[in-house]
Symmetry: C2
Subunit: 333 residues, 2 copies
């Protein structure tokens, strides 16, 4: 079953129907993650903040939602040969976990610079690791070789309607848990999460604002929005290892049309936000996971009159897989 | 209003009625904290574990429950003069927070060796700090002086029926959130939390097991249970700064009668459990908060045939206030 067999018939790779369908499909396999609030952080930010804690999701990140939706969308014959992907971490672990739940093999191509804890997650869930060089070319060519050898289905980390639909379930839950939310801030990388969230949230509440949070050192989405077309970068430079990918042809149209703005932040703001998550919220987030809080605290957001009336802000803490040594080294900066 | 004016008329300083009354009294002021589960930790422990995340409670620890119950039990005349306590941290911050909510002054006597982040919490909530030496004698005499000078009401951190009743609301919530629980493991120090939990949980389900988790270097509760009377220690030596107090005359009878066993663990087991909380659960806990997980993973618990059929185990992650440098130094051990 490919994405066309889902109920989505609209102009984007997913829609509210395919997202609701995904919610039913993955319900038994994922955690409904809690929403935390903190009066201290409300006071610091001058807004009411609602933290959707996807760091507590299975595998430590929201990625399990899309991976389960993709894998449980496969028909039995396709599934039997297994799945393959290339990923620096959270999607890899999520795909391994979802494959384990379905009882099929997962072949994971991992770039050599992936965080150790994320590779350990892949192995913990029984994923079969093949190493590649860190470049996208190497990742893709090694993955193609695995597909050829095994007949496994390639599941792209974000440029896939089933993945986008699965990630969109974050917004269904969040708006049920905190219906007063008028703005959602979502980390942006390849755009799978924010596409799903935007499609779901704007279908439920057309006036809700969807803002992307992006590292300055990997600001392809901000550049793409300005240019009106997909821009990729020759290299990226950010502590947020989960936010180094570029938009794809399925996520770009959603980001172009439904994401109200991209807020770019410096790595030092990400680190400061991680520290606040740790010290105030008591939640372990990875750099990519903390970027939404960094955005809401950034000068560019605070001083922009467009966002003055963003009073009830949902922030997706997207993941919590961080090596303790990395955390420590960054907090000492 | 002192504790006798509550509905409790039983043999202990609190009972299920005073605990339910506390729940109504504090409902508007506290967080209903989530219960997290992890299949990875289930697999490591060989049980189903339910983590009651009091580290996400206001002030970063369960202490806010008892403090709110005590402060909102005071009549207006008593309250107007404020409250005073001596505490190394979480009770101090909680009392300052609860006093702030009621709009009354809080005078907090803090021993000089209290963790920095806990003292910062006291100040954040507007508590007026007076320093004492680390000894109990100094803490008590400085507090007595403050009482004399201000007329404020002394609110003991644990040896108080209102405090015990407030802490017992943890168990009311937990058994509503995960009714299948057959065992609850609770950190023990002065015994306020475990007394409240035991009184509530055994009233709801008389066959539930209540186990205390205690550091080897502050094992007064284990020694007291063996001796059949309160034992205090000349000194304590544990990383768990929240677990260095001794049982009081109101908590001891409950611990003696209703706590099924005390599991003692080494500091290195506490540190290992903190690491698991951080890396697997993505929750920042302080050493005292992680001790329940340390207990369920300890050899003495695993190999004891008495606990073989503890299948669904509630673990109270009691608090999350830890200095990042302390966390790091302990994890490097």
């Amino acid at each position: 079953m490919d994405r066309n067999s889902q109920t989505n018939t609209g102009k984007y790779a997913a829609d509210i129907s395919s997202i609701r369908e995904a919610q039913l499909r993955i319900d038994a396999f994922i955690h409904k993650t809690p929403v935390l609030t903190s009066e201290t952080l409300n006071s610091i930010s001058g807004r009411k903040l609602f933290f959707k804690c996807e760091c507590f999701q299975k595998g430590g990140a929201f990625k399990c939602r899309g991976a389960c939706n993709a894998i449980f969308s496969l028909d039995d014959d396709q599934a039997a040969k297994g799945v393959v992907t290339h990923s620096s971490g959270n999607h890899a672990a999520a795909l391994a976990l979802a494959a384990k739940l379905r009882g099929i093999p997962a072949y994971i191509v991992v770039p050599k610079n992936a965080p150790k804890c994320k590779v350990e997650n892949v192995k913990r869930y029984g994923g079969q690791v093949t190493w590649s060089e860190p470049t996208m070319n190497s990742r893709e060519s090694v993955a193609a070789k695995v597909v050829q050898e095994t007949g496994a289905v390639l599941i792209h980390p974000y440029n896939d309607g089933r993945i986008i639909s699965g990630q969109g379930t974050v917004a269904l839950e969040l708006l049920e848990q905190a219906p007063q939310i008028d703005t959602i801030i979502v980390p942006i990388s390849g755009g799978g999460l924010i596409s799903g969230v935007a499609l779901a949230a704007k279908a439920i509440n057309p006036s809700i604002r969807i803002l992307a949070a992006e590292p300055q050192g990997a600001n392809d989405a901000a550049q793409s929005k300005t240019a009106g077309e997909i821009i990729t970068l020759p290299e990226t430079n950010t502590i947020a290892d989960g936010l180094r990918a570029f938009l794809g042809n399925l996520t770009w149209p959603v980001v172009r049309d439904l994401v109200d703005d991209v807020i770019t932040v410096e790595d030092k703001e990400i680190v400061e936000a991680m520290k606040l998550c740790y010290e105030i919220l008591k939640v372990a987030v990875e750099p990519s996971g903390a970027i939404g809080l960094a955005a809401v605290l950034s000068d560019s957001f605070r001083t922009n009159p467009k966002w003055k009336d963003c009073s009830n802000v949902g922030i997706v803490l997207s993941g919590g897989n961080v090596d303790l040594t990395v955390l420590w080294d960054s907090l000492r900066l």
